[in-house]
Symmetry: C2
């Protein structure tokens, strides 16, 4: 993995994407194996769209990847973490390598309450925390526990591609609500709910990323937050608040989570993937007391228990390291990269394009004029030595989108500038063709 490599000579052609498209087409025409009859109805919804195959390409070396939302781990104290992991295995290996409780360790659940206190949730109890295999698994469990086929989940437009994959795997109908620069528009949320409920739909929850939304970078304004929860409560709809980036606000203190003042109405999901290390796959859900037991048992039925060693490593990190100082480091680092990205966009983007200005997190969302489809531009961008994610990936429909996501989290400022410089002529050509 060398996100920093700028050598365009090593550019990878999108063979995987082409391959994936061809495979999908071929399998549809191939004589069906009798086992095809065994697939569940939901299995038909478990697919990787051609657009989403981009994620595979983005892992390849030789490109400036503005695609993947990976944290920049180079600033972690790896030598010290190595010693900590060694100490855990040498001294507590019989616990670290053994089965643990399905809900996660009491120690880490207690510490997670302290992390959430830093995020503005002051009343969390360890018994209502369920540790999961990343917050992806927390989303999966929530969908499992609440959604029948045909039920509706509300999401921001655009929203996290992994959540869309999870919802679709449960045959959920995903309904979008538009955002403006201040995030989800309460009036539109209210109208959408009313229309869906009038149509007889069962809406189970609103899935929202209120801080530095993936992919748009947009933040739900503080003054809108209680109103969003109130609208959902009135309609008896849960809120699934996904807040992996909340502590990565560049300036000032984090905005209060929707969960903070609404303990009974919000399932809050957090993750160590962005503030520590995604390779450990440790996330969590803070679940309202009256929903906790079913949520926990469903989680246990999926993975039995979260990995013990990983939990103990996170616990040691939270107790023995300056984890808040590390977050300060990350905030400075990502702010610098965001600034570099915005400056490069200012310098290189053709007239007619616009983009968001995130207050934190990993992403900028670029809008091209109506009529441009960013998906066919991807191959041209790869040819030019840069990768982005086409906007269609972040909508339930996969229909053509004039948007694209640029991630700056894993890329040093110079490479960001170079990536945008490579991207600009591709966009300029597309605009010229309108």
């Amino acid at each position: 993995m060398s996100h920093e490599t700028l050598d365009a000579g090593e550019v990878q052609l999108p063979a995987e994407a082409i391959d994936a498209i061809e495979r999908a087409a071929t399998s549809a025409h191939r004589a069906a194996h009798p086992h095809e009859a065994l697939f569940s109805e939901r299995a038909a919804n478990i697919k990787q769209s051609a657009v989403r195959d981009v994620f595979d390409i983005s892992m390849r070396p030789g490109l400036v990847s503005l695609a993947g939302g990976s944290p920049y781990l180079q600033s972690l104290p790896l030598e010290r973490l190595a010693a900590t992991a060694a100490s855990i295995i040498a001294n507590e290996g019989l616990t670290a390598l053994q089965y643990g409780g399905g809900q996660g360790t009491e120690e880490l659940r207690t510490q997670i309450c302290e992390v959430m206190a830093a995020e503005g949730i002051l009343d969390a109890l360890p018994r209502n925390v369920v540790i999961t295999a990343g917050s992806q698994s927390a989303q999966d469990v929530a969908t499992k526990v609440f959604c029948n086929p045909g039920d509706v989940v509300l999401v921001e437009n655009p929203t996290y591609v992994g959540a869309l994959n999870t919802f679709e795997a449960y045959q959920v109908e995903v309904a979008t609500v538009e955002m403006d620069d201040d995030g989800l528009v309460p009036e539109l949320l209210e109208a959408r709910i009313a229309a869906l409920q009038t149509a007889g739909k069962n809406i189970k929850f609103l899935y929202t990323i209120p801080n530095f939304n993936n992919p748009s970078g947009i933040t739900l304004a503080g003054e809108r937050r209680q109103r969003v929860v109130d609208i959902c409560r009135k309609a008896n709809i849960l809120v699934l608040e996904d807040n992996p980036y909340g502590l990565l606000r560049y300036n000032g203190t984090p905005l209060e989570p929707l969960r903070a003042a609404n303990p009974a109405d919000v399932i809050y999901m957090g993750s160590f993937s962005k503030i520590f290390a995604p390779g450990l796959r440790i996330g969590w859900a803070l679940v309202p007391e009256h929903l906790q037991r079913r949520y926990y048992l469903a989680s246990e039925s999926v993975t039995l228990c979260p990995p013990t060693l990983n939990q103990m490593l996170v616990s040691a990190y939270l107790s023995d390291y300056d984890w808040k100082g590390q977050i300060e480091t990350y905030r400075g680092l990502y702010a610098e990269r965001c600034t570099a990205m915005l400056a490069a966009l200012d310098e290189h983007m053709p007239a007619g394009t616009s983009w968001t200005s995130p207050e934190g997190g990993f992403f900028v969302w670029v809008t091209l004029p109506a009529g441009v489809d960013t998906y066919p531009l991807l191959q041209k961008a790869i040819d030019a030595g840069v990768v982005f994610i086409p906007g269609a990936a972040f909508t339930p429909s996969d229909s053509p989108s004039n948007k694209l996501r640029l991630a700056f989290s894993a890329v040093p400022p110079d490479a960001i500038k170079e990536g945008v410089r490579r991207l600009a002529p591709v966009l300029r050509e597309a605009l010229g063709a309108l």
Copy 2:
């Protein structure tokens, strides 16, 4: 955790079990929160039966626990593993702590093919291996991909409690097939399939633990294996072969897995939990070529990717350690404990009881006379300083059972003998009351 403690003075009363039962009863009568209407239909099936709460108790210190099927990790080279983990984080931390591919690392998938070769599967390809969060997650994914609500899964009677939890979470109808001392009886399997298909049921797969079945310790005889697959193939039913204990055969070479000669008909599940370390949560599925893509994408939709650090630690263990020698150590250790268990049963069990004689694995299955329900005996056993798992936990119905499971894997021989000595009067009293 001190499975070895024999101090009966520290005995834990089954407060958790009582608490769980009371909670369940209370919540049923409590005024329903409006959110109760939001649960999915499957959520009603996601429950922890009172019987299964025993697993929580069995983790408590102060008892001779013949309950939990934990491997005996004391024989692992912890100091050396500590150094290996440290080296991975110090030298490859940017990979180990970062997101990885959804299917698992190519390196570990290749090595897993070598592990399966030791188990008798010689034609596995890394591209058909999907690494999962323990094999529990592999079961979850299989159920997700194949089972609609109301579909039927066939299981051995008795079978693994965790699999039952997973199947029930998908509203699957679990149908049992009886075993004799040679495992699943092919004629009964065939008859059961015919009856269910005549009744219009959709049977999706047979879930089987052919080696040293959990909980019974019974092994499917070699001469029956192809016949079981043939019966399923003829009925267009997949086989889900769960083989966590296969390499832990006390004498001789492992029996050939059902998958070995049947690459298109069997999803094979393996795990490092019993041959290395369950706390890492690394299992896998070997999936027939024509089912691989949907299986893999479903897995990705649940956990995004398996933990990278854990995969790299397993890879290092397989490449740099004498993992086959460690399995030899385990085989000797568990054989010795099994012998101690059988000798203690011979010495202490009252007339009218019988038990299995496993050829490998972790468990002995004790049968009491008809009319005895082993669940109410559990509290008495705890009072006497020993824990077992009542047989009802291992059936889909949770109905009264005259069986019980004794696990000897985590308990030294002397403690096994002491546990059985404590258990005997409890059973004798129950038999006397008939």
